[in-house]
């Protein structure tokens, strides 16, 4: 396999949180790259800073020091509103608790991020239908989140994440709230998105089984990143 270009470059990133007048360092001098088309699993004990790192890469939080360059853009230098716009175009989010809007149907939930685009109503409908087809939930499009199982809700959330065709999908414990079987489904779906649609995926997980599905595993411990093993070919 030929060497691919680096999509994400994280350079000397520091992040700490303040609790009272105590400064808690979370990430210390983190440097690594993520290739385009990568499926990366971030592991590590609770409190090690996995979510913090993921949030920095996704542009919903800012480092204290260091740069994060995504596809040639230094996102640490973007303003709050530029960052919001950048996220809308480049990042798809998958959360542990799905975070669907309960009063909107599956279809409408997936349509939500498309409100930011200039697509016509018809184009939007086509795109939403396609996304729901990919996650195999076409027949559930008029159901509300409350009428869907956890696994199904997470599939809707995944459809919402990639419907805008972002380059990167970030997932924070996407299977953390699911049973084995549903988790398996979700991971297979993510693998397909990675292989068939070429999405770069960064997934935080506690679950070694889940991590195995990734191409590469990095482990974070006490603020330091360890390159683990190549999980898959």
């Amino acid at each position: 396999m030929s060497k691919k270009k680096n999509l994400i470059e994280i350079k000397n990133v520091y992040k700490s949180y303040r609790r009272g007048n105590l400064l808690i360092p979370v990430l210390e001098d983190i440097t690594f790259e993520i290739e385009e088309g990568e499926f990366l699993a971030l592991m590590g004990p609770s409190g090690s800073g996995k979510s913090t790192l993921l949030n920095l890469i996704a542009g919903i939080d800012k480092p204290d020091k260091g740069t994060i360059i995504v596809d040639g853009i230094d996102i640490t230098s973007l303003s709050e509103s530029e960052l919001a716009q950048w996220r809308g175009l480049n990042i798809g989010f998958i959360f542990q608790f799905y975070n669907l809007i309960p009063v909107l149907t599956a279809f409408e939930n997936v349509e939500l991020p498309l409100l930011l685009t200039n697509l016509t109503k018809k184009q939007r409908r086509q795109q939403v239908s396609l996304a729901l087809k990919i996650v195999n939930l076409e027949d559930r499009k008029d159901h509300y989140p409350g009428q869907l199982s956890g696994g199904q809700q997470q599939r809707v959330a995944i459809a919402r994440a990639f419907v805008t065709d972002p380059t990167i999908l970030v997932a924070d414990e996407p299977t953390g709230d699911l049973d084995r079987l549903s988790a398996e489904e979700i991971l297979d779906l993510m693998t397909r998105l990675n292989l068939e649609l070429g999405k770069t995926i960064i997934m935080v997980t506690h679950d070694p089984q889940a991590a195995k599905k990734a191409r590469k595993i990095l482990t974070l411990d006490k603020g330091i990143l360890y390159a683990d093993h190549q999980a898959r070919i």
């Binding site: 979510s51 919903i60 939080d61 175009l89 608790f97």
Partner: protein, 385 residues
């Protein structure tokens, strides 16, 4: 559009809370409209007053009458057109509860000065001709089921005895501000009896109504009239009918002030209720706003979501409240027509309702909107709950 749909769905997510908020708002709007209408009713006499009419009364107090000889003297004052007079009779019809204003007047000149009392010409003539004749406003005629030609007996409270009148006419007001619950009869009829039985108080008028040629000169003419009677036994105080009516209201100004204060408090309370509802809704949904933010759906869309939701609640509440204001006012008007002969919900009150609705929607959205805009995605979504 999806975002509008979401606004509507959000507004009724917590059905009980939305219902209670709307209920509170409706009641507040009814209370507000109602209190304002009370205040308006209080001012009805002022509103109905004419700029070309002056009222001359005893300078000491309205309860002291003026000699009837003043009529001629006032008429001769420069700028004066017509002079009439009246006298508060204070008669009671069957029961003191049936209160209505009744005056002894000089019929012809009085009706000339009050063209806003509309009476058919032949009834007017019949009234003027009949010494015991009387006219009454439509409201009390209907209330007591009187017919033309009926004998009506009023029991005197100031002038003892039973006083018999024959109903000769019915007047209606030219517009809604006119009091249609008054009763007028011949001053001559009263005076003749007084001459017979208590001559010392005969030949007096309670007040003079002075029609002037030009409203511009109201102040000067008033001054001229009062100068006429300076240093006489009964000095006069002349003012425009409007000022005269206002002087009654000044006596009750404190009550009016309290009523207006209460209306204001009602609005502040309901503002607090709606603000609380909005704060609760937004607080519960902070993770959703975090999702919006993560997706890049931020800024004015969030403002629109929250303000829109507040506007939906307040608009429904206002609409129900406004609609209910009319039957509430009607019920009150029917029950209290003795005290508030003119009790109508005015357009201004409805405009106030709309303004209140908007103000409440805006004010109650401000803090929740700021909160929702400031939500940090990282904290709201990725920390384990």
């Amino acid at each position: 559009m999806l975002i509008i749909k979401l606004v509507f769905k959000n507004a009724f997510r917590s059905k009980l809370r939305s219902f209670l908020t709307i209920l509170g708002l409706s009641l507040a709007i009814v209370a507000f409209g109602f209190l304002r209408t009370v205040v308006e009713a209080w001012y009805a006499g002022v509103e109905a007053s004419s700029a070309t009419r002056l009222v001359t009364r005893n300078a000491i107090s309205l309860i002291f009458p003026l000699p009837i000889s003043y009529k001629e003297k006032i008429r001769q004052v420069e700028g004066v057109d017509i002079v009439s007079f009246g006298h508060w009779f204070g008669g009671v019809y069957i029961d003191p509860k049936n209160f209505f204003a009744n005056f002894a007047i000089e019929p012809e000149s009085y009706l000339k000065l009050y063209p806003e009392y509309l009476i058919p010409e032949e009834q007017k003539k019949a009234f003027i001709k009949d010494r015991k004749g009387a006219i009454a406003g439509k409201k009390i005629v209907e209330k007591f089921g009187w017919n033309l030609g009926d004998n009506i007996t009023l029991k005197g409270t100031i002038y003892p005895g039973n006083w018999e009148f024959v109903l000769r006419g019915l007047y209606i007001g030219k517009d809604k501000t006119i009091d249609e619950s008054q009763f007028f009869f011949h001053w001559d009829y009263l005076n003749e009896n007084l001459r017979k039985f208590s001559p010392s108080i005969a030949d007096h008028a309670g007040f003079y109504i002075v029609g002037i040629k030009d409203a511009k000169y109201a102040a000067i003419v008033s001054e001229r009239i009062d100068k006429q009677f300076k240093n006489s036994l009964a000095e006069t105080l002349t003012e425009t009918e409007r000022a005269f009516q206002l002087s009654f209201i000044y006596m009750t100004e404190a009550i009016l002030f309290v009523i207006q204060l209460v209306s204001l408090i009602v609005i502040i309370i309901i503002l607090a209720v709606v603000a609380n509802t909005m704060a609760m809704s937004v607080r519960e949904r902070l993770p959703e706003f975090a999702v919006f933010k993560a997706l890049g759906v931020g800024g004015w869309r969030v403002v629109f979501l929250i303000f829109g939701e507040a506007l939906i609640l307040t608009t429904i509440g206002c609409l129900i409240g406004t609609i209910l204001t009319f039957p509430a006012a009607k019920a009150f008007a029917d029950k209290m027509s003795n005290y508030f002969p003119v009790f109508i919900v005015k357009d201004e009150t409805l405009i106030f309702d709309i303004i209140i609705t908007l103000v409440i929607a805006v004010v109650s959205s401000i803090l929740p909107t700021i909160r929702a805009l400031k939500v940090t995605v990282a904290e709201s979504l990725t920390r384990v709950r």
